[in-house]
Amino acid sequence: MTNDEIAATVNRAIAEEFELAPERLRPEAHIRDDLGLDSLDIVDLVIVIEKAFGFKLTNREAMMDIRTLGDIHAFIAALRDKGEAGA
């Protein structure tokens, strides 16, 4: 999976779950301040990402440090590079 495909999969899943317009999903968008997600949403965000990629994170807590949408894209790409994800 390419970086663009990862970004598209993440954005599609987040747009659907959190009912966000696709144009708001810029890589620099801050998860809390720009996209308006709160602590409950961020826990559910992990579930959404796992379902979108069909794998389970071994370290879910690592997702809690993520600040921007681009951070999520990079996080998944890093898992792919380490061979830990189906991505």
Binding site: D38, L40, D41, D44, I47, E50, K56
Partner: protein, 404 residues
């Protein structure tokens, strides 16, 4: 000294649709809002074929996602009804913030509970359970979600009183305002249709199996066949007369009295003696005698035993002259919503001086007491209305409404 308590706003989501106007139009046009169940016959042993379901509607544009994420349908209905009541009552700003909420439901969302246990028991996996599931399951889900959605920081009450939860919600709100503990309360009840409730009445032998929605719910009739379950939400804005006058809000009706009692002898079937006591206590609270009551809006859900006990109790207190109607033929039994949707109808009956007929009632069952049924057309009656609601668990409520 007890505060005068008035109704200054009303909101409804009912089998007729969204809003008080849809409810009133449906009731006053004598339309039966019951529907055939879509997936009937799927479950062995469940012979229920009709329900009073709310027309489906995409509410994404009406309730924002951050509020909707913790709401099952019952809370969404309650939220819309609360907003309608707030708008009707012109409640805003600090007065809205300093308002309490008293909204009951039969259960937390059974569908959300089902989602949880599907993952937990069948999947053996908690990982996909959303953080928001519990907020739909908890016992005060409708009340808490309304408080959040409307920005009400007063007390949150959620009476657990099954089918009487809506009228109990009004009653607790009335007591909170009358005692001066709260100036204003949004109150009522909400429920969503789920087979758990229909199946329970089925097991008790109290559910209607009739396939024709028009014939399914026939309170007090010799051919009545049982309850038709439904869903919806009703919310009243109750406030002290002092608060209403200070805000310039127009009182639509006055709550004269309330009584909550228990039939301690049977958990499933309230008896006539207990119902008599409950209605008498509500009259006493209102400072009225039976002859002062212009009409009785019965709980009457079209069960054999329940209608008989209530009819005999009404005859015992009011005799054969006071008009009696049930609205279960129009909407079925909307569970926790019924006490409020029917109270909203009572407010309009008070206002118009008319009492609606019992839809579906053609031949009154003499076993239900020699009471004066309203048949076919509305009748004229001016003055206070007594409204009953009863529930599994032996819970009994009676409310007296009067002109403001």
């Amino acid at each position: 000294m007890r505060e005068q308590v008035v109704v200054t706003g009303m909101g409804a989501v009912s089998p007729y649709g969204y809003g008080v106007p849809a409810l009133e139009t449906g009731l006053w046009q004598g339309i039966c809002s019951l529907q055939r169940l879509a997936d009937n016959g799927r479950v062995k042993g469940l012979k229920v074929r009709t329900a009073g379901t709310v027309p489906s509607k995409d509410l994404r544009g009406e309730i924002s996602r951050d509020l909707r994420r913790t709401m099952s349908p019952m809370s969404q209905y309650a939220c819309l009804a609360a907003r309608e009541a707030i708008a009707m009552g012109g409640l805003e700003g600090d007065a809205l913030r300093r308002t309490g909420v008293s909204i009951g439901s039969t259960l937390g969302s059974p569908a959300a509970l089902e989602d949880f246990f599907r993952e937990y028991l069948l999947g053996g996996d908690m990982d996909e359970v959303r953080t928001t599931t519990f907020f739909k399951v908890m016992g005060h889900t409708a009340a808490a979600n309304v408080a959040l959605a409307c920005g009400c920081a007063g007390r949150t009450l959620a009476p657990a009183a099954a089918c009487a939860a809506g009228l109990m919600g009004i009653g607790l709100a009335y007591e909170a305002v009358a005692s001066g503990r709260e100036e204003r309360m949004l109150c009522g009840g909400a429920d969503e249709f789920h087979p758990l409730v229909a199946a329970t009445f089925e097991k008790l032998g109290a559910a209607s199996h009739e396939e024709d929605p028009e014939l399914a719910s026939r309170p007090f009739d010799v051919k009545r066949t049982g309850i038709v379950c439904g869903e919806g939400a009703g919310v009243l804005l109750l406030e002290s007369l002092t608060s209403a006058e200070a805000r310039g809000a127009k009182p639509l009706a006055r709550v004269g009295g309330f009584s909550a009692m228990t039939c301690a002898g049977n958990i499933a079937h309230p008896d006539a003696t207990s119902i008599v006591e409950c209605m008498a206590a509500a009259l006493e609270d209102a400072g009225l005698a039976p002859r002062d009551i212009a009409a009785v809006n019965a709980h009457a859900t079209a069960t054999t035993i329940g209608d008989m006990a209530e009819g005999q109790a009404i005859f015992g207190v009011f005799g054969s002259q006071t008009p009696v109607c049930s609205l279960k033929g129009h909407m079925g039994h909307t569970m926790a919503a019924c006490g409020v949707l029917e109270t909203i109808a009572c407010v309009r009956m008070l206002d118009t001086g008319t009492v609606l007929p019992t839809l579906g009632l053609e031949t009154p069952d003499p076993a239900c007491g020699e009471i004066r049924h309203v048949l076919g057309e509305p009748v004229l009656a001016t003055g206070p209305i007594l409204k009953n609601c009863f529930a599994l668990g032996g819970t009994l409520c009676a409310l007296v409404l009067d002109v403001a």
